[in-house]
Symmetry: C2
Subunit: 361 residues, 2 copies
């Protein structure tokens, strides 16, 4: 029996609705597998937790999480309770940083039965590799002067090490896909970090002569996501650019509620974290209509990460059959609830299992 | 006779094709007006100029430009000749900075006859007010260490003065429009500049109780441009965020070749600069198929700027009648040339004039 120990952090808002849903799905899959087991431990770390304890997680929170194989997170943030930069740097970004989850990967691909907002979305299937440890998200900077003279300075930090690492990850991924890597840049406007990024990209590209490459300025690239999403395979981007592109990717997929993501610790020292692209979605909390597919697809990425690609593929196929058959939450034009969609996914997993058993007998 | 002295800088690539086109249109409009005259002086400053002179413009370039009422620019950049950060900081961004063109305004609105890539674009009509003097585009930063240790640092600088100024501009604009200002932020990820931006926005908003406000993170906002563009009226954004949003705005308008822009000097000390959103478009140079509408619509913004709003409205109505009747360049699905579209616009201006004359007799 292979046991995967997962720390569940539902977090805020709809996180609390979709993490339990996807957890059930994972149990059903483990069941289907036969010799795989998930052990989930839930942690209530969130903005509500902050109000009670003055911190987003206990002081030894990271020590606790370190013992797990993976972290399965919903969403963090509740502006009514805690300013975003406090909640996120105290939990989400803290885990990404401290556990050296230096790569964030986010596929964008249209599921059958889901309507894209694009007239002619063609058959896009891309994956954004986001540098997840530095760049525009740094804690270097501050304010000076008061009142009308006040100035805030924010430092973006780009190291060759981290840039190369993200780029190599992208090239390795492209090898297994359509052999095309696009670099997101802005070297025409941002004159220190982005020309540097371009230089490193060109050097890394030389190591992969079999991979086609191009560089696009982030403004043009964002526009291309709308006009020609089918032109991309793997895109490598800085922290901020990756953030923007993946929300756009989610939008053209039909809903941010669908889009999956993984924060990967590449050196194996710490657990990786699996959390969908969407946030806590304050407007629909408690209505039972949050789209569980983002979290379920994120679970597939966790399966892939643990070498269970077959199970991952089964799961995504089932999810796609469910959307194709019209089991859709309101964000993608349906009227089904979180529970109905989840139950349908689980029913089909169980069904798949009995079919397989029947085949055997 | 009101004379407007304009410095034309066609720049690179298709800039050289669309600036002359829009200049002809302006002459026709002046003719229609009767007591308005444009005096154009053309400057060859461009990447080719750089190759010959080692600079994008002469040393006294700004002195020369200062004498004009406005600058009418096409596009800057030709990667095959000059690295972008050199060409742009040597001409486009230099003019924006030195002439204190602190505000960049860019409308996004669908023209009749032009197909948006969105399934249901509704009737969006928004305008992005982009802070144009500082932010992520700063010349503060640099590199340290060599080889595998190399690090590049880029400083984003946000002053209260510039942030407030852009925000006030946005609020004043919203007063004359739909009374709604959206602030583009990323205070959950970028922890010094963006919470500061939010703070200033809240304070400025207090001065305009009649204006509805909201703040959206740039990632979500980019996605909203695709899913709900009709929800926006005026959007105020930092230099980089404004850059990204306006290319997206151009994309949902059907083509970056359509989108207009103005760089406004608000204190009246220096000329403002009118340049469309699109770049030099190396892939279509010399084919005669560049869309002239971006540059022509930009000319309308110049007319508005000089108090000729009536003429500006006539021009945009004529442009829209031309697209509605199917005079479209290939980027928007037609097969007309730059010249054909331009000639049609001019013919309709002349026609408008003879109709008016007939009315009078
Ligand atoms: C060419 C580039 C520096 C410029 C910018 O980013 O400002 C362009 O994209 C624009 O939007 O005018
Ligand atoms: C919540 C926020 C800090 C975060 C980010 O920008 O990284 C989110 O948008 C994401 O993409 O995971």
């Amino acid at each position: 029996m292979k046991t995967i120990k997962v720390a569940n952090i539902p977090g805020d808002g709809v996180g609390k609705e979709v993490v339990p849903a996807a957890t059930e799905v994972l149990h059903a899959l483990a069941d289907l597998h036969g010799s795989l087991k998930f052990e989930f431990t839930e942690f209530p770390w969130s903005c509500e937790y902050y109000l009670e304890h003055g911190a987003m997680m206990p002081e030894d929170g990271l020590e606790i999480l370190k013992e797990f194989d993976a972290i399965f997170l919903g969403a963090v943030g509740n502006l009514k309770l805690v300013p975003d930069h406090v909640s996120l740097w105290g939990l989400l970004i803290k885990i990404r940083r401290e556990f050296e989850q230096v790569i964030n990967i986010r596929p964008a691909k249209l599921l059958k039965g889901v309507q894209s907002p694009l007239v002619n979305p063609k058959d896009f299937d891309m994956i954004v590799v986001r540098e997840n440890s530095e760049g525009e998200y740094s804690s270097i900077g501050g304010n000076i002067y008061k009142d009308e003279d006040e100035i805030a300075i924010q430092n973006a930090v780009f190291s060759r090490k981290a840039s190369e690492r993200a780029m190599r990850y992208a090239f390795e991924l492209a090898k297994k896909r359509n052999k095309h890597v696009t670099s997101a840049t802005k070297s025409n406007g941002i004159i220190y970090s982005m020309p540097f990024w371009d230089k490193v990209f060109k050097e890394v590209a030389k190591e992969y002569p079999e991979i086609k490459t191009d560089s696009q300025h982030i403004d043009a690239l964002a526009a291309f996501f709308v006009t020609h999403p089918e032109k991309f395979d793997v895109i490598v981007a800085s922290n901020l650019f990756g953030d923007i592109l993946t929300d756009l990717g989610a939008a053209i997929m039909g809903s941010v509620g669908i889009a999956p993501a993984a924060n990967i610790n590449v050196n194996g020292k710490y657990p990786s974290m699996f959390e969908p692209v969407h946030g806590s979605a304050p407007d629909i909390i408690g209505k039972g209509i949050a789209n569980p597919i983002g979290q379920i697809w994120t679970a597939k990425m966790m399966l892939d990460h643990f070498g269970e690609e077959d199970l991952g593929t089964i799961l995504l196929d089932i999810v796609e059959s469910v959307t194709a058959d019209g089991f859709l939450t309101p964000d993608i034009g349906g009227s089904h609830t979180t529970k109905e969609v989840t139950d349908e996914v689980i029913a089909r997993i169980n069904n798949y299992k009995s079919e397989k058993l029947n085949e055997k007998t």
